[in-house]
Symmetry: C2
DNA sequence: TTCGAGAGTTAGGTTTTCTAATGTCTAGGA
DNA sequence: TCCTAGACATTAGAAAACCTAACTCTCGAA
């Protein structure tokens, strides 16, 4: 039985895409490359189309293919129609199609997302990334159509998501102080993460002496440590680019693993189409590469 | 992974067909009917499209659907593009697509094909049937792109085909003479079919007395018998419509089955697409209904 | 309150499509 | 002439996409 949905008087339209590309290139192989598929796939679809139309569209030779008279007549029509559709679709929906809105706390955007975005952008060069900073937790709800990157223990409400990395805390300092980190004052970090006393309790280490600095954001804490202000119980995930570039260094001290982590979530409606699923997968891969 | 062949910037075009129909009807159910598919299929394809575009195209309510602003904007573009493609395709290839050329001997066309064509035409109302009479055997070769209906023992050269009916011969007369057929003169039929003597030999019956009439075509022979000129060793297949309408009647006499038969054949290139395969199947079904 | 029409959802079977491997053909060079 | 490289065809089998059947949900009318 044939594919069920096929308008009377029109061949399956996806065959026409292949015809258009093959006609344009004068080569099945080149058309296949344009689609990232094999030459066999193109060959079969062209054959299907010719068979449906009842006419040859290409003349095959050992050196390549050329259009028959019928093919020559058909190509402009197909080309123009597809281009009109493409243009119109782009005008109406281009933004939604090629734009990815990402909401996160400013420091997460800066320390998790931005350093790894180039990897993603290489795969999807014409995809715009639009960030939306989320000062407070509850502001995530207002951005419910965007991707979220946030710290926590699991997936939220009606959204799907993946764990990018678990939170692992370890004392970190500027490189020049890494050896003698015990002599540095500890920087206090207020918030939902375990602090120095929890670290000391779990690892059995002695609690370092607290310094005068207390911040409420891991981003600030890490930057403070980089300047030599003290030792911070830093997040491996958030610090990873600072660590990789040598601006920060882990002290030779035990780490504290937590059950919390950094999650990327999206509305369940996203990711239903394969294209979006691929985009999400690519972004996930980039971000998990800590 | 998504379907491999999908032009950048364009969703799978077959989704657009469904969108166009659903938008035109304002109803998924109606669109489904137009395609001969289920409402679920339409629903899923629309959802895919919306997901690909990243926008809602329809507003769903319990009573039906209506287009969103985005949908309203998109519909004319899609409608016009598809229509242009449809029109252009029809202009260029309409004949090949909706025309079936059938070559056969005149009497086969008349007695096998025409009586059963209505059955086929009901399924494919806008398909033109173009017959080509073939006076001599070798003329089939000239019509090698057409369907052939011919008498013989199997499939020919590079063609595919099906057996429509085996040849079965039986004495036939006009209805008023059926009882007393032995008293009628036999009509001689020259050609490749077994004759009266073969019939007598195989069935063990006595050979009827030969009359003065000798013809070289089963069509002529049957018509002669219908006029009461004599008894003919008639082909069940070719006579079937005459028998059904009571213009001819089988005598109460044994039949002679042969290994020959009526075949429909087509170039192997036909029937490769599902559409053509369906057309062929439908025609075969009509013609086998003897 | 019940009913019916229309749409959503899901699981699972079918059909279509794609790929990998292999075959065929031709042109051009050794 | 023989060989090779490049382009397309063909095939079976795997993978993806698709469709249907069966069910649910919701709304508005009787």
């Amino acid at each position: 039985m044939s594919r069920k949905i096929s308008k009377q008087g029109l061949p399956p339209l996806d065959w026409l895409k292949v015809f258009e590309a093959a006609g344009r290139h004068g080569s099945f192989t080149a058309a296949a490359e344009e689609f990232g598929a094999t030459q066999a796939a193109v060959s079969q679809r062209i054959r299907n189309l010719e068979s449906w139309l009842g006419r040859q569209l290409f003349i095959r030779s050992a050196r390549g293919v050329s259009l028959t008279v019928d093919g020559e007549s058909y190509l402009p029509l197909v080309h123009d129609s597809l281009r009109a559709l493409e243009q119109g679709t782009e005008n109406l929906f281009g933004h939604s199609v090629r734009e990815l809105r990402i909401a996160a706390q400013p420091s997460h955007l800066e320390m998790l997302l931005l350093p790894r975005l180039t990897v993603f952008s290489e795969s999807y060069p014409d995809m715009r990334i639009v960030t939306e900073t989320v000062p407070k937790r509850q502001d995530f709800e207002a951005a419910d159509r965007a991707l979220h990157i946030r710290y926590g223990r699991g997936v939220w409400d009606g959204r799907e998501g993946v764990l990018l990395a678990n939170e692992v805390l370890q004392p970190m300092t500027a490189p020049e102080h890494a050896k003698a980190w015990r002599s540095l004052p500890a920087i206090e970090l207020r918030g939902e993460r375990p602090g120095w006393s929890e670290w000391a309790r779990v690892t059995g280490e002695g609690e370092p002496e607290m310094g005068p600095v207390s911040v409420d954001s891991m981003g600030h804490a890490l930057r403070a440590a980089r300047r030599g202000i003290g030792v911070v119980l830093g997040s491996r995930a958030l610090a990873s680019s600072l660590l990789q570039t040598g601006q920060l260094e882990c002290a030779a001290a035990p780490e504290l693993a937590t059950i919390d982590g950094y999650w990327m979530t999206w509305p369940a409606s996203l990711g239903k189409s394969k294209r979006q699923a691929e985009v999400l997968a690519s972004l996930t891969a980039a971000l998990q590469n800590l």
